[in-house]
C-alpha cells in the first residue's frame, strides 16, 4: 500500500506491506534509526514518537495507519549540532548511560513540556511512566526534565 508521511518536516512516499510496524518502517525503510526497539510489546517506550501531536509507541502501530500523518522522531529535535534545551539538560544531568532508552525518554518529555511547560514532580513522573530505563535509576532523567520546567 502507498504510504505518505512527513517525518521531521521531510515528506516520504513508500510502498509498504500492511503487516509492517511503524517502528520498522522508520528504521528500515526510512533509515531513521534514532527510535529504538527495546521490547516490541508496548512496555518499554524506547520506540516512542509523536504522530500528529500525540505521543505513541511506534511498535504498537502499523505503518499504514500513519498514512497522511506528521511524525516527529528524536532526529528532529536538534537543529544540526544545536541541541534542544531538554537534550542539553540530559547531557548536563548525566540522564543517560547506555543511551538506549534516551530517544523515547526525550520524546515523552518533549510531549509533556509542550502540553505543560511547568509540570509538577508528580506530573513529570507520570509522563515518563511508559518509558523504562535499565541504567540510570531514573533520578537523573527526572532531574533533567525538572531543570527545564518553568
Amino acid at each position: 500500500m502507498e504510504v505518505t508521511v512527513t517525518v521531521n518536516g521531510t515528506a516520504y512516499e513508500r510502498d509498504v506491506e500492511p503487516r509492517k510496524l511503524l517502528i520498522h518502517f522508520l528504521r528500515d525503510d526510512l533509515d531513521l534509526t534514532g527510535s529504538h526497539i527495546g521490547c516490541d510489546t508496548g512496555n518499554c517506550g524506547a520506540c516512542s514518537i509523536i504522530v500528529d501531536g500525540v505521543l505513541v509507541k511506534s511498535c504498537m502501530l502499523l505503518a499504514v495507519q500513519a498514512d497522511g500523518s506528521e511524525i516527529e522522531t528524536v532526529e528532529g529535535l536538534a537543529d544540526g549540532d544545536r541541541l534542544t534545551e531538554l537534550q542539553q539538560a540530559f547531557s548536563d544531568h548525566h540522564a543517560l548511560q547506555c543511551g538506549y532508552c534516551t530517544p523515547g525518554m526525550l520524546m515523552s518529555a518533549t510531549a509533556l513540556l509542550r502540553a505543560n511547560a511547568s509540570p509538577s514532580d508528580e506530573e513529570i513522573k507520570k509522563a515518563l511512566q511508559g518509558n523504562i530505563c535499565r541504567c540510570t535509576g531514573y533520578w537523573n532523567i527526572f532531574e533533567a526534565v525538572k531543570s527545564v520546567a518553568r
Binding site: 500500500m1 506491506e17 500492511p18 503487516r19 509492517k20 510496524l21 520498522h24 516490541d40 510489546t41 508496548g42 517506550g45 516512542s48 500525540v54 505521543l55 505513541v56 509507541k57 511498535c59 504498537m60 502501530l61 502499523l62 499504514v64 495507519q65 515523552s108 510531549a111 509533556l112 507520570k126 509522563a127 511512566q129 511508559g130 518509558n131
Partner: protein
C-alpha cells in the same frame, strides 16, 4: 516483529466497516491496537483482514444528555475520556482511565477495545458492570443493546459476534462510585480490582477473580466482605498471586471501593 501477512482496510462509514467484517470470517476490528497488535505479534491470532475503525467519526466522542446519561463512542481513547468535560458527569470513569498503563497506551487505547478484549485483568469491564452500563452492538442486520452482565461472556469473549461491532456505551447518571485495585507497580496490570456503585444498594463488580466480572450486592460497606465471601470465589493462581490471596484481595478491595462510593 514481522506480523503474519494481513490485509488492511480503513472504512469511512460504519456501514462499510460492518460490510468488511461480514465479508470475511478472518476479518477483525482494529481499534487502538494496544492489545491486538501484541496478540498478532505473539501469533495468538492472525486475522486475514484488519478493519481499522480509526476513520469512523460515528464511533468517537462523548455526549451528555440532559438527564445525565453519558453516551460514549467506543473509539474514544482513555486520554480523550480523561480530558472530556462531559465525562466528568460520572467522575469515576476518568479517574480509572487515568490509571491505565501509561501516557502512550492512554493516547491510543480505546474504551471499546478495553471492553471487547475483555481481558480479566483489564480495568474497564468491572467498572462498566458496576456503573450499570449498557452496550450497543451493531451488525449488518441491525443493532441490539445489552446490559454489561450479558456482555462479558468469557476470557477474551463478549456478546459481540463475528461481523459485529460495539457501537455505543451508555452510562446512566450517578456520582457515588468507587474503584480499588492492587496492581503490578503504579498504574500497572491489576492483580485484583473492584468497582462499586451506590444505586439503592451497593453494586460491586470484582475483576481478575473469574473469566468475567463477578457481581455482588451489599446493603452497606460493613456487609461487603461477607457478601464477597458468599460469592465463593475460586480465582486463578499465577506468578503474581495465589488464588487464595486474590480471593482475600477481592474482599479488601470490594470494601475499599464501597467506602469510596459512600463518601
Amino acid at each position: 516483529m514481522l506480523l503474519r501477512e494481513v490485509e488492511y482496510v480503513k472504512p469511512s462509514s460504519l456501514a462499510d466497516a460492518l460490510a468488511a467484517l461480514a465479508a470475511n470470517d478472518g476479518a477483525r476490528a482494529l481499534a487502538g491496537g494496544q492489545t491486538l497488535i501484541n496478540v498478532m505479534k505473539a501469533r495468538a491470532a492472525s486475522p486475514d483482514v484488519l478493519v481499522d475503525l480509526n476513520g469512523l467519526d460515528e464511533l468517537k466522542g462523548i455526549e451528555l444528555a440532559a438527564d445525565g446519561t453519558l453516551s460514549i463512542g467506543p473509539m474514544t481513547t482513555y486520554a480523550e475520556l480523561v480530558g472530556s468535560a462531559e465525562a466528568r458527569a460520572r467522575p469515576i470513569l476518568g479517574e480509572v482511565c487515568a490509571q491505565i498503563a501509561d501516557v502512550q497506551v492512554r493516547n491510543r487505547g480505546t474504551i471499546g477495545g478495553n471492553l471487547c478484549s475483555n481481558d480479566p485483568t483489564n480495568h474497564l469491564p468491572p467498572l462498566m458492570a458496576a456503573v450499570g452500563a449498557e452496550l450497543t452492538i451493531a451488525g449488518e442486520d441491525g443493532e441490539r443493546t445489552v446490559p454489561a452482565s450479558a456482555f462479558f461472556l468469557g476470557v477474551y469473549m463478549t456478546a459481540v459476534q463475528q461481523g459485529e461491532l460495539l457501537t455505543r456505551i451508555t452510562v446512566p447518571a450517578g456520582k457515588r462510585d468507587g474503584f480499588a485495585a492492587v496492581t503490578l507497580g503504579v498504574d500497572g496490570t491489576c492483580i485484583a480490582n473492584a468497582a462499586a456503585s451506590l444505586d439503592g444498594s451497593l453494586r460491586i463488580a470484582l475483576g481478575c477473580v473469574d473469566a468475567v466480572p463477578v457481581l455482588v450486592e451489599a446493603g452497606s460497606p460493613d456487609d461487603v466482605r461477607a457478601a464477597v465471601r458468599a460469592a465463593k470465589l475460586d480465582p486463578p493462581s499465577d506468578v503474581h498471586a495465589s488464588g487464595a490471596y486474590r480471593a482475600h484481595l477481592a474482599e479488601v478491595l470490594a470494601e475499599r471501593a464501597a467506602r469510596q462510593a459512600m463518601r
